[in-house]
Symmetry: D2
Subunit: 228 residues, 4 copies
Amino acid sequence: MHEKLRTPMIIVNFKTYLEATGRKAVDLAKKAEKVSHETNVSVGVAPQFADIAAVAEAVAIPVLAQHVDPIRSGGYTGHVLAESVKEAGAVGTLINHSERQLKFSDIDQIINIMHENGLTSVVCANNPRISAAVATLKPDIIAIEPPELIGTGIPVSKAQPEVITGTIDLVRKINSDVIILCGAGISHGEDVAAALKLGTQGVLVASGIVKAKDPYAVLREFADATKQ
Amino acid sequence: MHEKLRTPMIIVNFKTYLEATGRKAVDLAKKAEKVSHETNVSVGVAPQFADIAAVAEAVAIPVLAQHVDPIRSGGYTGHVLAESVKEAGAVGTLINHSERQLKFSDIDQIINIMHENGLTSVVCANNPRISAAVATLKPDIIAIEPPELIGTGIPVSKAQPEVITGTIDLVRKINSDVIILCGAGISHGEDVAAALKLGTQGVLVASGIVKAKDPYAVLREFADATKQ
Amino acid sequence: MHEKLRTPMIIVNFKTYLEATGRKAVDLAKKAEKVSHETNVSVGVAPQFADIAAVAEAVAIPVLAQHVDPIRSGGYTGHVLAESVKEAGAVGTLINHSERQLKFSDIDQIINIMHENGLTSVVCANNPRISAAVATLKPDIIAIEPPELIGTGIPVSKAQPEVITGTIDLVRKINSDVIILCGAGISHGEDVAAALKLGTQGVLVASGIVKAKDPYAVLREFADATKQ
Amino acid sequence: MHEKLRTPMIIVNFKTYLEATGRKAVDLAKKAEKVSHETNVSVGVAPQFADIAAVAEAVAIPVLAQHVDPIRSGGYTGHVLAESVKEAGAVGTLINHSERQLKFSDIDQIINIMHENGLTSVVCANNPRISAAVATLKPDIIAIEPPELIGTGIPVSKAQPEVITGTIDLVRKINSDVIILCGAGISHGEDVAAALKLGTQGVLVASGIVKAKDPYAVLREFADATKQ
């Protein structure tokens, strides 16, 4: 059985980086699992669709899809069915990442489908207003990521702390249960610590780990920082 | 090593049918392999992304993705990278299926990416004019499927033979190498035989096999019909 | 100067019906103006982009665009700029109609652009949950339309009253100012009266007026019904 | 009656530039008409949808839409109906501009709709391969525009002459009738002359005219250059 995500959490989005494709996806997931088990901090990984099965077989930490389509089974060639990623071993999915934005009604439908399948929904949002709107749809997790900081190495938790606190304020008026993460530019342990101090319950990271010279070391630094 | 597609061929599109998801995708692929090995007819299977690895591990027949995105590696969360499906075991992909239609320039780019990766491109087209346009882009295979017949059980090879012959005429003026398949409504061996007699080199099928009570028996009938 | 929308209101969406294209769009708008001036009920019209100027010149009632793109001026060939429809005479726009659905972040951006240009934003939503999500973005008007009833002649206000009351309940917890309309299947004055009794402040209609044998008579019936 | 496009031709795409919106669109169109009548060179203008009617009323030169949707009349809120832009005064439309790219099958359908309505189809293409593919669909005009040069002021006719000659070679093998234009970075009369010498029958321009300090002077230079 795969572990469940718990707070504080670190979710590593593998995107379509070659450094996190195929066997390298499995290797990176094993490093994430090592950090998680050493530190007892929850670390989830989101590999590409075709890598979910191999990753989920190799590690016990939570595996997420990067996207699921708002479809039921049937004639949807080339789409991503929730049941398919679930059977491959995913325990949830990212939804509406700024690199894969969705229609309003599709986000609503995907959250419902996730819920019906016992899967965790992690909805990404660009700004506090959109985070609040997403909160009304009752996903399990919201991840706020200012798109202009993604991949820059400029951490949202330091460059735009008001985005995070603004998000938390707006979201909490609507939904007291949803877990709130932040992402974009998170590169150092101190960025993670800053994010948690601002009131988030974890981080969503990608290039900061995937493109790091030593992903294990950086992820370990991140996990340790959640305890500060 | 996986076998290569060769003519005459039958490609089975698993779509997002639950009957062809997860373990059932592997089971169906094994039946396809059995038919292929018994009859020496080339049979390819196109499972969902998350099932490619398990299917490719279980069978030696050609495995195709149902879609690939026009992207290079990088920050493309939730997209499908050619290198990813290749490493999972796919030898090619469907492109522009009527349920996953693409922009003109994206089809062009995906064909290029397939070529660079040594993968087979199977571009779907709705009508003879579009088939001819696709032919100029030099994919390996064109599959003509009138969308109004998909899933109906009314075989294109009998209901609209002029669509198939018209396609072949137009395409051959432009491209003498591309393999031409047809699909939509193919349900019986005689539909397959009719398709080949009209000049195609195989068929693209989905519900006719996936939703059949006995997929093995129907696929065997299809394979035998290619020899008539 | 064009009149402003005020409650109770009737907005007539001309869609791309030939009965409401070109000169016929102007004719229909004049009938709407006649009803509005006779009854003193606010009636807005939403013609196609190319008809906005002629309609706005012909009538004094509020003219809306059917869509605006989330763009600033620049290199956006084939897109719809807020400033363009404003200069043509529109006082606002429909946003996210179920026939023209948008990404989450685009709705947010269009509402902002509308606000900056002093234009009215009428955001359409499919269900109560989405209406509540939209309410957090602070548009001027929300129009709830169950897509399965659009164009059916089965009035939402009678067939699904709980959708309307559910919407009002959820929206009012978040936003006490936004005007709430409903639409889909509104065909008779009693449907309009029912919608207002359920707590909406007006209706969004299309085929019920555009395709009516006598659009003036039906619209007059609608306007009179707002006074019951 | 509006004039028809004839070779050699210059088509000015107004995009969504504020310098070519509303009254400024009419002003710019009048300058284009002045140049056309002074030089007897065919100049077409493509304003935004909401400006088509006013522009078409003000000038006798050909007016084009920037986009039309692949729809018939009906329930298509926020879409662009061919009949609507035609009645507003357009004699044709741009299709598949790199800023408004379309699905393969949609381009095919729009060309058909244009033909049925007696309207001119100007299909944009990114590269020679796509131009050849488009040529099979038998539009009236193909405009080749390498997207990386659009808006740069680096003229395609000088920076990438092989793109133009390659396009002409491939297209002429398939379609001997279609008019071939080129665009992207055209800023000076010599760029226009170079384009014609390479074998095109005109140019598609945007910022080179719209953003010029003296659009009349630059357009006059372009028109004169077609006679070199």
